[in-house]
Amino acid sequence: MMYDHFENAVKGITDKLNQDPEGINAKKKYVLELSKLGKKLYSEDETIAWCGVTAPFDLLGAMGITSCFVEFVGAMLSSTQTAGGFFEEAEDSGFATDSCAYHRAVMGAVLKNAMPKPDFIIGTSSPCTAGLAVMENFAHQYKKDFFILNVPQNYTQDAIKYLAAQLEDMTLFVSDHTKRPLSKEKLGIALENFNASSTLLKEIYDLAKTKPSPVDNNLLKDFSTVITLMMGTQQGVDICQAFKNELNHRIETGQHTSSKEKTRLMWIQNRIQYPFPINEMLDDLGAKIVVDELNDVTWEPMDPDNPFESIAKRMISIPFSMDTTERIKHIQTLAGEYRIDGAINPCHWGCRQGTGTRGLISKGFKDINVPVLNLEIDCVDSRNLARGQIETRVEAFLEMLS
């Protein structure tokens, strides 16, 4: 069923792109690549690794592994409104209703046999305890080998060395399964692609900072989190290039000035995944999400002569890996660079990692005089959505800002 879904998506988008060969169509190209990844995951011909969010997908790709973080599937099930039955399945088997719904959805999919079987599992301790617990459940359920990358939360030499050594061990673990050693050459290419993608990402985000911004409320939704799945590939570089072209084109053709931008907003953590017309609502009210908290390049270029240490530094540099003080500093820097007027923190129900910082993030914004709206919303499970209440609060917030 899922394979067909992705195959149809690949066909449909390819047809559309063929009809407009000169167009930039960044978003379509991006969705096409993600659908291709989905197709590969469900094809049963690939060596599959289910992973934690911060796993080194470039390194795994260089080793011939089709890998993905499980939350991606949770988001996809939610966005296609097919998650309901999976939530129920997970809850019926004892997974707590107040746990993170990204995980509940995928656990339900595992139990209903709707996930591709992995060859092995690579858990990451960042961003969250819950994600790692789900990875252990995967390994237990599928009876597959399990590797954990412990991501320390301090950016110290010892911490970097520790994670680098684990990454090296991980390559041995993967080689044990594939019977192929890590090819230095392939890794070099992957890191080169990663660096090229990172440079383009920086340029994309710099363009997004323009006032008025050429982005729209949907264009870069959860972009940095998802693009890591392909940054080590040529396709990743091409997608980043397409987004850069798209933004430049919008600026050149003046599209961005015509868009309404009374209020510039930052979105904290992840977006709402199911269809909920908050973006349209913001459009109508003249508000634009110009930056998602995670849309940033927090790492130095990868060093092909020192690959494990570079990747380790990158993994620790992600704001969720470190303590909240670092996360807040990062948010405050973005707030200044993007000249935002306000921020929306959805406080995704069930995410202890993220919502546990609600008060501190609010204070961090207060310190720089930026109002923040804390919503209490499940970004993945729409069954208890208090739609009217959310709409009223967003409206009132924007009114206050204007």
């Binding site: 004892g94 305890t129 010892d158 684990q166 546990g356 008060g359």
Partner: protein, 347 residues
């Protein structure tokens, strides 16, 4: 009176605190402090973490010369963050704790424990001394051995009040001193009443159960606690195998990583092993049933309940799962379910 160091997690090696000349003070979430932590954190964090922060916000704590937090789960990480805000003048150290056990993790944790030890000695202006650490570990191991002996006895027979007595000893080690706990273990816990029959032998597990009165309540409700596995019960008194490594911090790390099977720590070679461990311990303690008691919003435990349930089912061991907060009040609500469960065990 000794100066105190506050801590919140069972992965904190108390001997390091005592070696540096401090007294340990585990901050239990028992307090009438008003609920305010949710503003700084979020309401859907575990009640353990929230209540501990409530105590800090309401100044419901003895004077503490420093705080040790362990990066054991997201809620704990967030507690450490919030403490900086609530008590900006408190010296704090956050120990990074790996999630999986392997030799790299042991190396890393041993360095973290060494960093902790050096920080504690520095906080107290004491010269760093491995000898003092070893002496305190020896003392700690005596308590651990006594606790093991007591648990063994408990698993064989039911002695009224024994379980709550054991909890008092453990709490003393957590909040006062190892010496005092040792004295209690050696003198005070001689069962006065003879062994009784008729109660349902049950193994208890979960995250937090620390009030001795709760164990008395269980007895009133027909439960003979044969053994338990909480981060506040005997698991807290982790014996340190000093022969495991010449480096004392590595010995500490391997003892804590390998013998303290909190749900947050995984053996990657045996995913889901916590379920098997619970089955084994229930059997070894001669329990006829198992009660799991976990706090709401505790991801590490709640995510493992389905596999624990499955493993117990496979062995035909009856299982009752309870969820709540840390208060005695929430316990009261469980009476009917616990009594029905023990009746079902048919003792």
């Amino acid at each position: 009176m000794n100066k105190k160091i506050g801590f919140t997690c069972a992965y904190t090696p108390v001997p390091l605190i005592e070696a540096a000349g401090f007294s340990p003070f585990r901050i239990f979430p028992d307090s009438k402090a008003p609920d305010q932590a949710g503003h700084l954190l979020h309401d859907n964090l575990c009640p353990h973490v929230k209540k501990v922060l409530d105590r800090a916000l309401a100044d419901d704590l003895p004077e503490l010369d420093g705080l040790i937090f362990i990066n054991s789960c997201d809620s704990m990480r967030r507690l450490a963050d919030a403490w900086h805000e609530a008590k900006p003048d408190d010296p704090i150290i956050l120990v990074d704790l790996p999630s999986g056990t392997n030799s790299l993790s042991l190396d890393f944790l041993s360095k973290e424990y060494e960093r902790l030890a050096k920080t504690l000695f520095r906080w107290n202006n004491e010269p760093f001394s491995i000898k003092k650490i070893k002496d305190k570990i020896d003392n700690w191991n005596l308590v651990a051995a006594s606790v093991k002996k007591i648990e063994k006895k408990m698993s064989r027979d039911y002695f009224p009040g024994y379980a709550s007595g054991l909890q008092q000893i453990i709490n003393t080690a957590a909040t006062e001193s190892t010496d005092k706990a040792l004295a209690m273990a050696q003198k005070e816990l001689q069962p006065e009443e003879p062994a009784k029959a008729g109660l349902a032998p049950v193994f208890l597990f979960g995250n937090l159960l620390f009030d001795p009165k709760v164990f008395d309540l269980f007895e009133e409700w027909n439960v003979h606690v044969t053994a338990s596995d909480f981060c506040t019960t005997s698991r807290f008194i982790t014996p340190v195998d000093t022969t495991a490594d010449d480096n004392i911090f590595r010995a500490l790390a391997s003892s804590y990583m390998e013998q303290t099977p909190c749900a947050r720590t995984m053996d990657t070679a045996k995913p889901g092993d916590i379920a098997q461990k619970i089955v084994q311990r229930a059997k070894k303690s001669n329990a006829r049933g198992v009660i799991g008691f976990t706090l709401k919003f505790c991801d590490p435990y709640l995510a493992r309940i389905p596999m624990i349930r499955q493993a117990l089912q496979k062995e035909s061991i009856p299982f009752l799962m309870l969820e709540g907060d840390c208060t005695m009040g929430s316990m009261g609500q469980q009476q009917t379910r616990i009594e029905a469960f023990t009746e079902m065990l048919g003792v």
